[in-house]
Amino acid sequence: MKCEHCDIINGNSKAKIIFEDNEVVVAIKDLAVSPGQVTVFPKEHFTILELVPNNILEKCANLANKVGVAVFDGLAAQGTNILIKNGLGANQNVPHFSIDIIPRREEDGLDLTWAPKQLMEDEMETALMTLNKELDNVLKDNKEQETKSDEKVEKQGKGAKKEKSKEDKDNYLLKTIRRIP
């Protein structure tokens, strides 16, 4: 599968890497919302946010924040937007999780706003109930996943079964989010 972010890591891209270590990359991409955009992503090919292990995600988040400070200073930005496009529905166009840092200035012509909706009280209630109902499952899932990845580190190679159930979960998420091109 062609992946622009993997290409950047492998040096097959016009993008310029300004920082990398063995887990993460900070790059200026040649395809961006605005010329000052900086993108942070893990080296390993994770398609969506939900698949990124917490330790890698934390590292990306911290780097994104540092980049945000750097563009305030370096590019004299007056603000920043930090955006994760997660899934096709959110216009994710590279199948490799990333955090975009977009420097902002007045009248830069970027529109990252939305028209606020006025929902009826009962619609809000339904949303609240639907989410609260599912929350426990998600938190439980996450806990399991975290324990699993801990175990994985401890005894690599064993636990083929666990691997499989993790895969199932991944597949489920990918299905939910639909295939990313």
């Binding site: 900086v38 937007n81 955006l83 200035r105 007045e106 990252l112 939305w114 989410l131 939910t176």
Partner: protein
Amino acid sequence: MNPQDLTEEQRKELEEKLKKMSPEELMEFQKQQCIFCQLISGKIPSKKIFEDDTCIVILDINPATKGHLLLIPKEHYAIMPQIPEKEIKHLFTIAKKMSQLLLKALKVSGTSVFIANGLVAGQKAQHFMIHIIPRKDGDGIFNIEERLIDNEMIEKVASLVEVKFNELMGIKKEVLEVKAEEKEEHETKEEKEIEPEEKESEDETEDTDEEKESEDETEDTDEGKESEGDEKESEVKAEPESKGDASLDDIANLFK
């Protein structure tokens, strides 16, 4: 509550009041005025999805789409650079869980995790928050086109950002990247103290009057536009500069 709703007289009165306040008083005043601090303390009711020691997640009452979540740190920060590293990391892991929740419960085909730092970035409240927005094809949110950036521009941006970024990371030479990264926590602070000249000049401008930061930074093209922010700036310029980082606090202080 909303500065835009005040009459001219009330606004002036408020300005006077703000000028007389000490930084501590002002910070306290800001917190009292902050709707989100009141949501967190329960003074204003909200539709809460999740809560832990450091943050809460609530439904946005004026959502972009149904299920739009706001992830809010309990501590009052205006913008992301003010937040301690540990908290940022935590917030993002919670954002991941909440995104997963939206995908599962609402069966949407994506989520946008969005942060606005500063008025020009579309930040509406003076309390930092992460938006997690359920997305579907063609919902018309964030219609931003990506475009090709030419090599020259990439190089220029890279060199400008890289210098600052390396300072923040405590990296002296590129070769030492990996090692330097591990030490980042300790070094960042030191680096900040010996930060470059521009900061000082910005500090001065801020002390004297509300003429904004601007020119001294880089070859930026639209300096003139900044004057529009002057009025807002004047109202809040006396705010605490706890981080000692003028340009960041300017962004944070752009809120009335």
